[in-house]
C-alpha cells in the first residue's frame, strides 16, 4: 500500500540551529501539504503545494520557515533559526488533487524538540 514517507521521525536541536524535514508523497499525488501540530492541538496548515507551486503559505512564518518542492515530487521544510516555540509534530500529507473532496493521506510525522 502506498504511503507518505517522512524523515527524520524525531529531531532534537538547540535553539538558533537550522533543521530540515523531508517528505515523499504518494506517487502521482499533485497536492502536498505541510502541517504543524502543537501538543494538545489539531494540525494547522503551514504550506500547500500544487505540483511545484506554492498555493497557500499564509500561515508559514516566512522569516524563519521555508518550503520547496522543486520537481513537484518530494518536498523539504526548513526552519532557520529554530526557536523553543517550534517544538511540535510536523506532518506532511498528499492528495491526488486539490479539490475539497480529495482525501488527504498523512505521513507519520517528524517530532521536533527544540532545547
Amino acid at each position: 500500500e502506498a504511503e507518505v514517507a517522512q524523515s527524520p521521525r524525531y529531531k532534537i536541536t538547540e535553539k538558533s540551529q537550522a533543521v530540515a524535514f523531508w517528505c515523499d508523497p504518494i506517487s502521482g499525488h499533485a497536492t502536498l501539504y505541510w502541517y504543524r501540530q502543537i501538543l494538545g492541538q489539531g494540525p494547522e496548515l503551514l504550506v500547500q503545494f500544487q505540483d511545484e507551486s506554492v498555493v497557500d503559505d499564509s500561515q508559514l512564518p516566512k522569516d524563519r520557515f521555508s518550503a520547496e518542492r522543486l520537481k513537484g515530487v518530494d518536498s523539504t521544510l526548513k526552519i532557520q533559526p529554530a526557536e523553543l516555540g517550534d517544538s511540535a509534530m510536523y506532518l506532511c500529507a498528499s492528495s491526488l488533487e486539490a479539490g475539497g473532496q480529495a482525501e488527504q493521506f498523512f505521513g507519520p510525522g517528524t517530532r521536533l524538540t527544540v532545547l
Partner: protein, 115 residues
C-alpha cells in the same frame, strides 16, 4: 472562515460501552466534514467523511457520524468500543467552494478505552 469545536478533550469509556465524541462547526459557506483518527506517534488517518447525500455515514470499523445542518454538528458514535479504539480523534471541515480550500481541524478528543 471556518472553525471547529471539540468540547471534550478527553473521554474515558469502558470497553464494550457506547461512546459519542462531539463536534460542532461554524462556517459561512457549505463544508465537507471529516473525522480523522491519530494513534500515538503516528500521522492522521481518515475515519469517515460526509460529502453529500445521506446524513449518516459509517466507517468500516463500526464508527458512524451524523451530519446535522441545523445544529451544525457532526458527532461521532460507536455502539461498543474496543481497546484498539484508544486514540485521538479529530473533526475537520473543508469549504465546498472551488480553488485551494484548506482543512480546518478541531483540537481533538482523546478516547481512552478502559478494560
Amino acid at each position: 472562515a471556518q472553525s471547529v469545536t471539540q468540547l471534550d478533550s478527553q473521554v474515558p469509556v469502558f470497553e464494550e460501552a457506547p461512546v459519542e465524541l462531539r463536534c460542532n462547526y461554524s462556517s459561512s459557506v457549505s463544508v465537507y466534514l471529516f473525522w480523522y483518527v491519530q494513534y500515538p506517534n503516528q500521522g492522521l488517518q481518515l475515519l469517515l467523511k460526509y460529502l453529500s447525500g445521506s446524513t449518516l455515514v459509517e466507517s468500516i470499523n463500526g464508527f458512524e457520524a451524523e451530519f446535522n445542518k441545523s445544529q451544525t454538528s457532526f458527532h461521532l458514535r460507536k455502539p461498543s468500543v474496543h481497546i484498539s479504539d484508544t486514540a485521538e480523534y479529530f473533526c475537520a471541515v473543508r469549504p465546498y467552494s472551488g480553488g485551494y480550500q484548506k482543512v480546518t481541524f478541531g483540537t481533538g478528543t482523546k478516547l481512552q478505552v478502559i478494560p
